[in-house]
């Protein structure tokens, strides 16, 4: 009998660190979110914000120096952090798949495309021989690759960037996983191909109904695709909410900074407003808010204490002291008006 569970995937207070020669790099520091079946979750952040590491922690494919040091990841009620390697092998590729940023280096150069897709099918299903070949062909057709029987026999270097990414998607979806994690799937592609791949993902999501976690630094990609958005910085979640809430009512200084730095075609003559400073050094996380050193509106409390997560409304939560300040000011106003 299957266990009762509330969410398909529930990440609770996840902490992941890398133990290097230079010290402990705390890549993920207390990340929690839920993913329900069929929904699309977007994780936005700069390089080094911990978004990819979160994804790899879920799949448990961290590099040798990395380890989940705290928290849990519940898949259909089971904490997969505690699972054995054998159980994880049954999980990866079958229950949850991942596609990576650079399809050229992510595909093995000495094996044909067909070989690599068929490997996934052979691992997780009972199909044999010709059935496997047929399924691989089917998948290639599904992702919109022309002449699929020819492509099966080709090597990755013979395909274009967009086609390789389609192959990655075909490989990931071949065993019909519940969850698809897409780690910067369009970053390495041209803009026109980006649009094609995103469209493909939307279409596949409609057809196959899997949940998607989309990890990216591109705000445009996020806006189109996602039901819920999480903004990360310094291994922590800054803000979460629907696209509308995040874009039109940002409640974290980092999010505000991100949105401000997008070039606005309507204001071409104005100076660009980037976020000052450089991303935080994860070897030495500060006591307070990770974004504080770069924040224009930083307050003394930001230096001392990590902000708690505050509910703005049912679709929107943020971890920024500015909200407490705003609430206090509102209070003062209200008190003053009485």
């Amino acid at each position: 009998m299957e266990k009762e569970y509330e969410h398909l995937l529930s990440v609770q207070d996840l902490h992941t660190s890398f133990f290097t020669d230079n010290g402990e790099v705390q890549a993920v520091n207390g990340v929690s979110f839920n993913l329900d079946a069929g929904k699309v979750l977007g994780i936005v952040g700069e390089s080094g914000s911990g978004k990819s590491v979160t994804a790899y922690s879920i799949m448990r494919i961290l590099a040798d120096t990395g380890r989940v040091v705290g928290g849990s990841v519940l898949y259909k009620g089971d904490n997969i952090i505690e699972w054995s390697e054998k159980q994880m092998r049954g999980f990866r590729g079958k229950c949850c798949s991942i596609i990576f940023q650079d399809p050229m280096t992510s595909l093995n150069p000495v094996f044909t495309v067909g070989n690599q897709i068929e490997e996934a099918i052979r691992l997780h299903t009972d199909k044999k021989g010709a059935e496997i070949r047929a399924r691989a062909l089917e998948m290639l057709q599904l992702v919109g690759i022309n002449e699929p029987d020819k492509r099966l026999k080709q090597y990755p270097f013979e395909l274009s960037g967009g086609m390789r990414q389609r192959v990655m998607i075909a490989m990931a979806l071949a065993c019909e996983p519940d969850i698809l994690i897409a780690d910067e799937p369009t970053t390495a592609l041209d803009v026109t191909i980006q649009a094609q791949i995103l469209e493909l993902m939307q279409e596949l999501q409609r057809k196959l109904g899997m949940a998607i976690i989309m990890v990216t630094h591109d705000l445009g990609v996020i806006a189109e695709l996602c039901d819920e958005i999480i903004v990360m910085y310094g291994g922590r979640i800054c803000e979460r909410g629907t696209a509308d809430e995040i874009f039109y009512n940002p409640r974290h200084e980092y999010t505000k900074g991100l949105l401000r730095s997008i070039p606005d075609p309507a204001r071409m003559k104005d100076r660009l407003v980037p976020i000052s400073g450089t991303p935080i050094n994860m070897l030495n996380l500060p006591k307070g808010c990770a974004f504080c050193p770069r924040c224009d509106a930083a307050m003394k409390i930001c230096l001392e204490a990590v902000p708690e997560e505050l509910t703005i409304n049912e679709n929107h939560k943020a971890s920024c002291w500015c909200n407490v300040r705003d609430a206090a000011l509102k209070e003062k106003e209200a008190a003053g008006n009485e």
Partner: protein
């Protein structure tokens, strides 16, 4: 694909030709030609030599005649004992070939195994032991190792009999010959295995749910073999030159030791013929490696 093979073969033949020419003309740069000896040759011998080697003809023509005869199988006559060089090579080369092939096989196979093992147990005990021994081995020249092995195992301990007509022990010579290439291959295999394991496609394979050992043997190993095959060419060259001293030390009657005595005796015809023979061998070995390389790595362009 055919174009690739043809191009490589033509290049090999060109190289051999150049080597032949260089060898011939360099040998003839010795004052008085290769046939002038400190030992006085009788007039009849000089006459015979002149006739046989057409010494009165211009140098270029001599070269062509020499080449023609060479490929017909007539390599000339040893100045030392008057025997046909082709016969000398014929009887001594099989021994050297056996020694060399054993050494190559040991070096490549053991090197790959140890190197991969070291990569997989990185920074743990097996890795440290393997690194230690392979670093040591790269510091010991083959002739020193050969002499030491001879000293310890043949002379002092008497465990292995010295090479003679009746007892042929290949063990020590193969060890002496294969030590350095094996050590080098080990380091190469370790680096390339580590390199392969760090690639993105390994992460993809794990993410698909492939078992750890299969990731190593199927996905990583094939990619890591590429540099090892590339090194096989120079490795064979090293073993050929190494065999000269190893055979000398262990008093094995192979082509290598014959070559060394030819050098010491200033047996110029022998030196010339053997040089060309061995050089041709090396070039062909390189050619085979080039072709093998293509079989392992499909990315090589048909250039």
């Amino acid at each position: 694909m055919a174009r690739y093979i043809i191009k490589r073969v033509l290049l090999a033949l060109l190289t051999i030709l150049i080597i032949c020419a260089l060898t011939f003309f360099i040998m003839h740069a010795v004052p008085g030609g290769p046939f002038n000896r400190e030992k006085a040759l009788s007039a009849a011998t000089i006459e015979a030599l002149n006739q046989r080697y057409n010494l009165d003809k211009p140098l270029g023509e001599q070269f062509l005649i020499y080449m023609r005869e060479f490929f017909k199988g007539d390599l000339g006559v040893s100045l030392k004992n008057g025997r046909e060089i082709s016969a000398i090579i014929g009887e001594s080369f099989p021994i050297s070939a056996k020694l060399g092939l054993l050494a190559v096989a040991v070096a490549i196979f053991c090197g790959t195994v140890f190197g991969s093992l070291a990569a997989l147990t990185r920074n743990k005990l097996p890795d440290r032991i393997i690194v230690f021994f392979s670093t040591l081995s790269t510091a010991v020249p083959s002739f020193i190792l050969a002499t030491l092995l001879l000293l310890v195992f043949c002379i002092q301990l008497g465990w292995i009999k010295v090479w003679s007509a009746t007892s042929h022990s290949y063990l020590l010579p193969v060890i002496a010959l294969a030590a350095y290439p094996m050590a080098y291959t080990t380091r190469l295999a370790k680096t390339s295995m580590l390199d392969a394991l760090g690639q993105d496609y390994i992460r993809t394979a794990r993410a698909k749910g492939v078992a750890r050992w299969k990731v190593i043997f199927k996905h990583a190993l094939r990619n890591s073999l590429i540099p090892i095959i590339t090194y096989a060419g120079p490795e064979i060259a090293y073993i050929i030159t190494g065999s000269m001293v190893v055979e000398t030390v262990f008093t094995i009657g192979g082509l290598g030791s014959k070559f060394v005595s030819a050098i010491n005796n200033r047996d110029y015809t022998m030196i010339m013929a053997t040089t060309i023979f061995l050089a041709t061998l090396m070039v062909f070995a390189n050619l085979i490696c080039d072709l093998l390389y293509k079989a392992v790595d499909p990315r090589i362009q048909y250039d």
